[in-house]
Point group: C2
Chain length 296, copies 2
């Protein structure tokens, strides 16, 4: 598939690097609103003026939009969906329904296919929330000042796990959940939390989005569920991400979802999609036969 | 959707319990190869003879096959796909391609839809292998005999984490992976392994399947990847399951995938599918609008 990058900041550079790791992706170029001659790409990919992009309509299978969610993407994605199959990483959770509606209308009218909100959250975390119907949690490991001071003093102290770090957990519980049971389950979790002084704070989904969305190093989606005639059995699913580079992880996800959008567009689909609408097989360069033989 | 259970062992009873937790699933009955009057269900659902099942063709949207993978399902799934939309939890990894081909042919010929190999592995673990293109790992926490003896003696010893348990890890590495780096990364993982004497053993995918497939309490799928111009950034995804009851977890997955098969059959799809072919949205009772507003 032939892809192009629209917007060349951290995310655009991440997509440029990620494209090299995907042998089925050919990067046609970078489109920028700056003067193209002032922009130098990491890998020597050509740079074009954003204003000229419609000239390249027939050379691009999927256009990857690397603008910001606050002001760029709400305008950019619907406009570019008139001429291209597009994919973005729009991450303002509260505005997703409105963004979806605007992009869906533009893409259906022009006969193109769009996918919004791919990345880690929304994106991979959303998939795991859906698969498990789970809520969110974020956990921070916080150094204890007295331990830092002791180490800095040069006295080479022998410190226990508990003396070195606190664990702070922020949890969005489901409606009607037993919060005391959740707090107890977290605090007594062996190896993870029981060896630490751990605080558990319950917050709303809105507070999670407002105050904990930018977490640089990842987070968790945890789901516990009960089964059995009298709900006597407990199951725990935990999905965690630890990221060195948020934009580069997002870039890799964008390329995989661009692959899916390219295939679905070639099958005649139009309109707007999210990660929930993509069958996992469409993300992989492997065939159905290969996936069943090696991944199932 | 109207579902029925074919085969009434641990898995069949699990599906019976799981059906009560899914308001959109109506359990029509249990079909057994034993004499129906000798079988008593947990919830009073009626029991019918397996030999009579074709009489109930028009009353069942999806038939959930709860036979064993060794001898039951290879025959049962293709035969029943002639008259029903079916779903099974076939878990003999090496025979999946042959089972898929047999079920696909039968379902296409009769105009029905089938899904094979749903559950936790194959199933949820397969999805996470695909999303991350990752390999498998299993970890056992093994009590140290000297610690058990000390506790049993009644001397009430104070034992450290390291004195109580060993950690044994079995890992299937990707071709060409740096095994020394993987071993070092596992052994030094804080909170998980660094507080234990941990052994790491590399095995083949076949050995994993043969010797570690029956793990009662779950396992891990771990993927580390590198991004950046010179692959200077590392990312770690970890997906783990801890299960009190393997058949009941599998049952809950079967009902969610039955929902997807019911929807896809009503859209006119025929043939055989796996978990890779199901868009996540089709597993949820929520609408696309609800998913985008609350789960994305």
């Amino acid at each position: 598939m032939k892809i192009a990058i629209y917007g060349y900041g951290n995310l655009g550079r991440g997509v440029e690097c990620a494209a090299r790791q995907n042998p089925d992706a050919e990067l046609v170029g970078v489109f920028t609103r700056r003067a193209p001659e002032t922009v130098k790409t990491l890998t020597g990919v050509p740079v074009y003026a954003a204003a000229d992009i419609t000239r390249y309509k027939d050379e691009i299978d999927v256009l990857i939009l690397c603008g910001g969610s606050a002001t760029d993407l709400p305008k950019m994605t619907p406009v570019l969906a008139k001429d291209f199959n597009v994919i973005d990483s729009f991450d303002t959770h509260a505005n997703i329904p409105a963004h979806f509606a605007a992009v869906d209308a533009a893409a259906k009218e022009s006969g193109h296919l769009a996918l919004i909100s791919a990345g880690w959250d929304p994106g991979m975390f959303s998939l795991n929330r859906l698969y498990a119907s789970a809520k969110d949690a974020r956990q921070y490991t916080v150094p204890i000042p007295a331990a830092l001071d002791a180490v800095r003093s040069g006295s080479m102290p022998e410190l226990t796990t508990r003396e070195k770090h606190l664990r702070e957990c922020y949890v969005v519980a489901e409606d009607g959940a037993d919060k005391a049971a959740i707090e107890e389950a977290i605090k007594t979790m062996p190896n993870y939390f029981s060896d630490y002084d751990t605080t558990v704070t319950f917050i709303t989904a809105e507070e999670m989005q407002k105050n904990h969305a930018e977490l640089p190093h990842g987070g968790f989606v945890i789901r516990t569920g009960k089964t059995g005639l009298n709900k006597e059995h407990t199951h725990t699913i935990e999905y965690s991400l630890k990221l060195d580079s948020n934009p580069e992880f997002t870039s890799s996800a964008l390329i995989a979802f661009a692959r899916a959008i390219d295939r679905k567009a070639k099958r005649g689909e139009t309109g707007c999609r999210t990660v929930f609408d993509v069958a996992p097989a469409d993300l992989s360069p492997l065939s159905g036969d290969e996936l069943r033989a090696h991944m199932l």
